[in-house]
């Protein structure tokens, strides 16, 4: 491959890989910013992936290609609703948030496969007829270099993810809602004394994480595997959390970290066709994304500071 060809392949692939990570990572960020650990996003992604595929399969006949929008919407809702389990346990019942997240992941994986078995009588669904597909952005795609690089092979979910990232930044850092949600994650008692309903903000933060992780899961399933099974999500939620921490709990940082993962992953898989890289033993390429991440964190990203009250149940009047 020529250098340009390599680039034209790497960048869109990296974006593809990064898309669910961005969505889910930013979801987790909202949860953690509100003071609830986001460990459950893996499970929420699974719920989203299942819902997306289920809706896509069942309503394709009625809606044709447009069913993907319905599927994404349903995944969003399903994620948000399922995340209520975390909210109720962690916020209302003051449960340990790490436990809640781990339990939710287990629950989501089991319930979805159980449902698949119940509905379809087998362990995985068929492939959907309307997967998410790339398209060209008119005009922009004609720009030399940048066109083929960025605008000729675009997924709608990638655009959604980018919008979500920038939107999340705006919401969190420019809008009253963001100020409030962050205050609840940093110092809930201070927020409480300022008349902010801590529990409500935490519920909202968790449900945003559910909604975004749901969309992230659906977008993953509808672009990559095209079906749903117990292994569709396979740890991407954890990678998304890693992206969020890597991105220092900042939406644009998370975006950057997710893109970094995408790039590293693409290099590792597509590396076999890239001059020089192809001579590297495959195992090195396979571990590359993970090792690179650690090196990046160790080398220059430096210490990340989590929201202070993340993981701590808020109990009125307790010091």
């Amino acid at each position: 491959m020529s250098f340009l060809e390599v680039l034209y392949f790497i960048v869109p692939s990296a974006l593809l890989y990064a898309t669910p990570l961005i969505l889910t990572g930013i979801g987790a960020l909202f949860s953690e910013r509100a003071g609830v650990i986001g460990l459950g996003v893996e499970g929420l992604m699974i719920v989203g992936a299942f819902t997306g595929i289920y809706i896509n399969l069942e309503y394709y006949a009625d809606f044709g290609k447009n069913v993907i929008w319905l599927a994404l919407l349903a995944a969003l809702l399903a994620g948000a609703i399922f995340s209520l389990i975390i909210a109720v346990a962690a916020v209302t019942f003051r449960a340990d948030q790490t436990v809640t997240g781990v339990a939710l992941n287990m629950l989501a994986a089991a319930i979805t496969v159980f449902l698949v078995k119940l509905i379809y009588g087998k362990g995985q669904t068929d492939m959907v007829s309307a997967p998410l597909q790339r398209f060209e952005i008119p005009y922009l795609s004609d720009i030399p270099f940048l066109g083929p690089l960025l605008f000729q092979n675009v997924y709608s979910t990638t655009i959604i993810a980018l919008v979500v990232a920038v939107g999340a930044w705006f919401v969190l850092y420019k809008m009253p809602f963001g100020l409030r949600i962050r205050s609840v994650g940093e110092h809930p008692m201070a927020a409480d004394t300022m008349g902010i309903n801590v529990a409500k903000m935490r519920y909202i933060g968790v449900m945003i994480s559910g909604a975004l992780a749901g969309v992230g899961g659906a977008s993953l399933a509808m672009t990559s595997s095209g079906d749903f099974s117990g292994s569709t999500v396979a740890g991407q939620g954890f990678i998304a959390i890693a992206a969020m921490i890597f991105g220092k709990w900042h939406p644009l940082g998370t975006l950057g970290a997710a893109l970094f993962f995408g790039l590293a992953q693409t290099l590792s898989i597509g590396g076999g066709n890239i001059p020089y890289i192809q001579d590297i033993p495959p195992v090195i390429l396979q571990v590359l994304p993970y090792v690179l991440t650690i090196l990046a964190l160790a080398g220059f990203v430096g210490k990340a500071v989590a929201p202070k009250a993340s993981g701590v149940p808020y109990i009125k009047g307790k010091r």
Partner: protein
Amino acid sequence: MSNRVVNLLVPLISVVLGLLVGGIIMVVSGYDAIDGYTALWNGIFGDSYSIGNTIRQITPYILAGLAVAFAFRTGLFNIGVEGQLLMGWLAAAYVGYAIEGLPRIIHLPLALLAAAAAGAFWAFIVGFLKAKLQVHEVIASIMLNYTALYLTNAAIKSLSDGGFKTPTVLESATLRNQWLRDITDNSSLHLGIIVALIMVVVMWFILEKTTRGYELKAVGFNKNAAEYAGMNVNRNIILAMTISGVFAGLGGAMEALGTYQNASIKAAASGIGFDGIAVALLGANNPIGVFFGASLFGSLKYGSLNMPNEAGIPEEIVSIIIAVIILFVASGYILRVGLQKFGKKKEGK
């Protein structure tokens, strides 16, 4: 109601509620819940074979749970047990087959030691990165989980000349024991459970009896105060992680020397490490608690295999039940409030 009674009642009620939810789901889905639970019970306790295998299943859960719990107790979240366990698995298998001519009394401990060392090393990296370079332990361990998966796969491949599993461990390194097999009708129960139980005591001893344990806990709870008291915070973080890795690595040894007798290529993570988190939390990060948590978790998981076999019910139902139990245990606060109210009402009468 006394605190102790409440502390016992909370997990009990949680289990009952979990089973209740599971029953409801079965009935709603058109299955026979009684059949389902009979099958589950038989799967766990039905005969000596089942009991043997249930114990075998519990064994690595104990160790994975200890690994997570130990880290938690020292203020660290070890989500990397999975990777450490894989490293330990490979190391034990390798030492188990590659070193010949040793008597069992030396070879077996050596293989266990190798697993412990490998797990410890993998966790040490995380501790080191955290202590010296402020790398968040959660990302580092997630990344190292994947790294371990690919590295051990590549290593197994080259050790087996392009095959997919290492040679079987030698008789002198196996945890298998004919007598245990005989009394459990040829189940795959092995001596590993003894190792696991010893490690329960070891963890308890380290944390509750030694000066090091005192230091580790102090650093975990309040780094600043520990530093004021002249403790070396960084060294303790690294050490805590490393000890946690020892437990995880031994968990791998249980599989390598007991259950499978080799290490084979994995297409995905084993899941034991992640289950270990649940086990630790069920056990309130307390070694004895971990033992009970692992017993509950392992029994249900193993018994679930019999549900499709005997009752035709998907075994996922058991994972749902476990998750619900964990959620209830975690929400102990609300159960406590309920119990307190209930207790008061009774006293009032």
